[in-house]
C-alpha cells in the first residue's frame, strides 16, 4: 500500500515538475522577445514568415477538406434527427454550437499538432543532439530567441488563421447541406447570425492564440529536453504531441466553462 502511494506520489511529482518546467520555459521565451537585436528582428521575421508558410499555407487544402467533410457529417446527421421533430431550422444553430464553437478550433489545432508540432519537436531534438543548441549558446545567442520564438509566433498566427478558414468553409458547406433540405440562404444566414455572439469571436481569437502557443511551446519544450542521443528523438516527438493534445482538450474545457460563466 505504502509502495503504491509512493509510486503515485513519484509520478505526480514528475508531472508537476514537467508542468513547472513548461511554465518557466514559456516565461523565458516570452521574456526573450524583448532582447532581439535589430538584424535579429529581420531574420526572425523571415523565419516567422517561413513558419507560417509551412504551418498555415501548406495546411489550407487539408483544413478545407476536413472542414467540408465535418460540416457534411454534422448536417447529414442533424437533418435526419431534426427532420423527425420538424425542427430543420435548428441546423444553423447546431452548426454554430458544434462546429464553430467547439469542433472547428479543436480539429484545426489537432491538424497543426500532427503536421507542425511533430516537425517542431523532431527538428529541435535534432538541433540538441547535433550540439547546435550548445553552439548557439557559445556564440552568446539565446536558443529561445533563435529556435523557439519564431515557432511560437508562427503557430499562433497560423492556428488563428486556420481556425477562421475552418469556420468559414464549415459555414459554406453547412449552407450547401441546409439548402438541400430546402432552406433559403437568407434564412440560413439569419439563423447563424442570431446564434453568433461577439463573445464567440473573442473566444475564437483566444483559442487561436492559446492553442497555437500550446502547440509550439509543448513540442519545443519536449524537443529541447532530449539529452541522450538520436534514439530519444521519436520519444520526444511522442511526448510533445501527447502533451499538446491533452493541453488542447483541457483548454477547450476551460473555454467552455469561461463562456458559460
Amino acid at each position: 500500500m505504502t509502495a503504491a502511494v509512493a509510486a503515485i506520489g513519484e509520478s505526480g511529482v514528475r508531472r508537476l515538475s514537467v508542468l513547472g518546467g513548461l511554465a518557466r520555459f514559456a516565461f523565458r521565451v516570452a521574456r526573450s522577445a524583448g532582447r532581439l537585436t535589430r538584424a535579429g528582428r529581420l531574420v526572425t521575421l523571415r523565419v516567422l514568415i517561413n513558419q507560417i508558410r509551412f504551418t498555415a499555407l501548406q495546411a489550407v487544402g487539408l483544413v478545407t477538406l476536413l472542414a467540408a467533410l465535418l460540416s457534411f457529417l454534422v448536417i447529414a446527421q442533424s437533418t435526419q434527427q431534426l427532420g423527425r421533430f420538424g425542427a430543420l431550422e435548428r441546423v444553423g444553430t447546431i452548426m454554430v454550437v458544434v462546429v464553430i464553437r467547439e469542433l472547428g478550433p479543436l480539429l484545426t489545432a489537432l491538424i497543426v499538432v500532427s503536421r507542425s508540432g511533430t516537425a517542431i519537436a523532431a527538428e529541435l531534438a535534432t538541433n540538441r543532439v547535433l550540439g547546435e543548441v550548445t553552439a548557439l549558446e557559445a556564440m552568446g545567442i539565446n536558443p529561445d530567441i533563435y529556435l523557439v520564438l519564431p515557432r511560437v509566433l508562427g503557430c499562433i498566427v497560423s492556428v488563428a488563421c486556420l481556425m477562421i478558414l475552418f469556420d468559414s468553409v464549415a459555414l459554406v458547406a453547412g449552407y450547401i447541406g441546409a439548402a438541400s433540405t430546402g432552406m433559403q440562404l437568407a434564412r440560413y444566414v439569419q439563423i447563424v447570425l442570431a446564434e453568433l455572439a461577439p463573445k464567440d469571436v473573442i473566444i475564437t481569437v483566444a483559442k487561436g492564440i492559446s492553442f497555437g502557443a500550446a502547440v509550439a511551446l509543448f513540442c519545443s519544450y519536449h524537443g529541447l529536453a532530449v539529452t541522450k542521443g538520436p534514439t530519444e528523438i521519436p520519444q520526444a516527438v511522442t511526448r510533445g504531441v501527447i502533451a499538446t493534445v491533452v493541453a488542447i482538450f483541457v483548454m477547450s474545457a476551460v473555454f467552455v466553462g469561461v463562456a458559460a460563466a
Binding site: 537585436t37 538584424a39 550540439g131 550548445t134 557559445a138 556564440m139 552568446g140 545567442i141
Partner: protein, 242 residues
Amino acid sequence: MSIRTSFFAEARRLSVEDALPVVYKEVDLRENPDHPDHRFNLTVSPGEVVAIIGDEDSGVGDLGKWTLGLDHPPSGRVVVFGRNMATLSYDDLLLFRRQMGYLQVGDGLLQNLTLKDNVALPLRYASDHRMSEVHERVEALVRSFGLADDAGLRPAQANEESRRRAAVARAVALDPELLVMEAPFDGLTGRAARALLERATMREDGSRRTVVITAQDLPPSVTSFLDRVVRVADGQAVEESA
C-alpha cells in the same frame, strides 16, 4: 569594416579590467583524481596562443566547455577576464561570451543553414549591426577564409576543410579577444591546419588574438605558431617546448 564596439561594452562591463584572459585554478580534470595535488593550474596571457594537449581520458576535452561556462568543473575555478565562470548567471554568460569565440569539436555548424548563413549568425543575433553591415562583414569573412566557392553549401554538402574554415570564421565573426578551439586540426592536412590557425590568431586591428587550443595531438606544421604547448599528465599541466 571595423567591428562595432557599443554592443560589446555590456559584455566587457562584466569583465574585470586588465584581468588575464584565462586562468585555470586547481581544476579537477578527472572524475577521480588519484592524488589531491593532481590539479590543473594554468594561466594564459593576453595575445598568447596556447595548446593544451592530452589523451582522451586526461580530461582535456572538457576544458573548452568549462572555459566558455557551458559546463563547470567538479572542483576548482575557471576564471575568464577576471570572472569565475561558475558564478555568472545564464543571461550574463550569454552576454559575456560575445567577447569569446568557440570552435567546438567537429564544427558545431547549424545543418539547416548554408556556410555563409552560419558565419552570419553571431552578427545577426549577438551584435547590434545593421543588416547591411552584417552582409558586408560576412562577405569579408567569406573571402578572407577562402569560402567564396562553398558559401552557398549546407554543411553536409561541404568538405571537412570548408566546414572547419566556416566554423572558425563564425567563431571570429565578432572579432573576439579570446578564441577557444577544440580539436581544430583533426582531419586537416598540415598546410590547411597552419593556414587556419594563422587566420584565427589575427584580429581586425592586426594584433594577435588570445587562443586556447585543446587537442589530443598537434600537427608539426602549427607548432611554430604556438607560444606554449602544455601537456596534461596525471591531471596536471606539464609545459612542453612549442
